[in-house]
Each structure stands twice: as C-alpha cells, then as structure tokens.
Symmetry: C2
Subunit: 193 residues, 2 copies
C-alpha cells in the first residue's frame, strides 16, 4: 500500500509543478526537463504516468479548476445562469488561468486526445448541468415552451468562447449580461402585446 501512496504523492507533485511552471512561463515554453528538474523526479517518472507533455498539461489544468461551476437553483433562471457564467469567466477568462485554458484549447486543435479528454472531462459535464437547470426552468414556464434546449448551452457559451479565443476581448460581467439579455429577448421582431 505504501507503494501506492508514494506513487500518488509523486503524481500530485508532478502535476502541481507542471501547473506552477506553466503559470510562470506559459505552455509554449513549458519543458518536461524543467518540470522534472523542479519536481526533483526523473523524466521517466513523468512519462510512466503521462504519454506526452500535452496530456500532462491537460491533467494539470483540469484537475485544479473544475470545481465551483455547478448551477444553483434559486428559482430565477436568469440569475442562476448569470452566476455560473460570470464565475466561469472569472475562472477561465482572465489571468492567471485564462491563458492556460486558451493554450489547452489551442493544443486541442491539433491533438485529438486532448480534444476528446477536454470534452469528456470538462465541457460535457458542464453542458449537462446547464441542460438540467434549464429544463427545470422550462417546466416552470420561465422559458419559451418550444425553445431548442439542446442548443442553449452552445448559444450561451459560444459568444464567451468567441471572445476568449478569437477576439481576445475581456470577459466581463457586463458582457455576460448582454449575452443573456440578447439570447432571452431574441433577435426577431416581437408581436405587439
């Protein structure tokens, strides 16, 4: 059992060191040599646990930032969505974690393993949580009864990711409010009540 224990300690140490170094120099300049040296382990010890630098980085980033993004249910769907979206922007949309998350998605563009793991371990759970909360809201009559719920997460997240990855503008609470306002109101002309 102590072997397991020691082994687990090393795994934690390596991930933490990788994260620290990534925060200091960024993913592009993160080297396995540097991780091994600072963690005080041999490179083999790292490669025995992760098959590549990219997957170590993925574990390092995801393992520490996937908490605290569950939806509350206060009864007010807009307020609940705003809270989660704002919190996500705070966590992933600005330093120190923002650049790392950007790099992770960048890496996913040419590394299918990273892309798949990112989806399964982070995106899909978040989408499922959003869907559940939104379904409840629809049943309570807080949403249009015929709205395409499966699209809601992408509709709300898409603009945020667009800012994060394409225009690289800051993700402010004000922007979250604008997105919510627009998505709820809809773009088409409204019939006069």
């Amino acid at each position: 059992m102590n072997a397991r224990r020691r082994s687990h300690d090393r795994t934690e140490t390596i991930m933490q060191t990788a994260l620290d170094l990534a925060l200091e120099v960024g993913y592009a300049k993160l080297s396995m040599e540097a991780v091994a040296a600072r963690a005080g382990v041999g490179k083999d010890t790292i490669y025995r646990r992760w098959p590549s630098k990219a997957l170590l980085f993925l574990d390092a980033v995801l393992s520490s930032r996937t908490q605290g993004l569950e939806h509350p249910d206060t009864g007010d769907i807009v307020a609940d969505l705003r809270q989660v979206m704002t919190r996500a922007c705070d966590l992933l949309g600005r330093p120190p974690w923002g650049p790392l998350y950007q790099d992770l998605i960048g890496e996913a563009q040419h590394n299918p393993e990273v892309a798949a793991a990112l989806n399964e371990r982070f995106i899909q759970p978040q989408a499922a949580d959003t869907l559940a909360r939104i379904k409840a809201a629809q049943e309570q009559g807080q949403l249009a009864p015929d709205f395409d719920l499966d699209l809601a997460f992408e509709l709300l997240s898409g603009p945020l990711y667009f800012r994060l990855l394409i225009t690289h503008e800051p993700l402010t609470p004000a922007y979250v409010d604008r997105v919510l306002q627009a998505v709820f109101a809809g773009m088409g002309p409204r019939p006069q009540p």
Copy 2:
C-alpha cells in the same frame, strides 16, 4: 520593375507551396525545410519575407479563403444570414480547409501576432459586413428594434466556433438553421399575442 515581379513570383510560390504542404501533413508537421525544398528556394528567401513559420502559415491560409463571404441583400435577413453562415461552414468548417483554420486559431492562442492579424484581416471585416446587413434589416423592421446589434455577430458565430473548436462536431446547414431559429425566437417566454 522586373525585380519586383520576380520577387512577387517567389512570394506567391512560397505561399502556395506552404498551403499545399499544410494540406498534406497539417500545420503541426509542416516544416520550413520542406517548404523551402519543395518550392525550390533557400530558407533565407522565406525568412526574408516572413518572420516566422506561424506568420507564413497565416498568410497562406488567409490569402486563399477570404473571398465569397460577403452578405447578399435579398430583402430577407434570415435567408441572407443563412447563406453566409452556411457558406462559411462549408469553407472553414470541414476538410480540407477546416483543420487548417482550426490550427490557425490554435496558433493564435499563444501567438499574439497571429491573433491580431487574424482579427484584423478576417474576423473584423466579416463582423463589419454582418453588422451593416443587420442594421439595414433592423431599419426595415425585420428585427426587434431594441436588439443589441453589436452583439449579433458574436451571438450567431459563437455557437459555430464552439462546435468547430470545442466539441468538434460537424457544422451542417441544419445546425445553422437551428442557431438562426433559436437566436431569432429567443429563449425567454413570449407574451401571448
């Protein structure tokens, strides 16, 4: 003048060769040595024109795919948006260009020069074109008069980019229709007419 002409020829040859090679092996495995060898030029000749592999790649991708995404104005805003969005998905959302565009955005995540150039040369013009078309539609009463027009482009493009970059699901015309439908209808409950 002939110097200019020769020079221009070489620039074209190098960009085309870089594009061909990128289509064959992808950006990650694209090497300057290979580009120089196949183009029959020295590496200096490339580095005299582009400061890095990333910016050569950017030029190569953007120079050949930025046409044909202007908005028509048939008088039907939904039909016009659908046409442009569908065409954009066809061009950028699937092979052979899709992976290159993904890689370009991936590179932009850790290369500010690439990010800035991509924005200025591709994203912003497209956003401006969309905004102009949408403004006209609003003035004709085809859109809600108080809708946040500056947000429209991000609202419509965001979900498409989300699929392209995050979930890597295919960008089909059916998906474009769903996005348009949802964005126009809005998520909130509608007053009974």
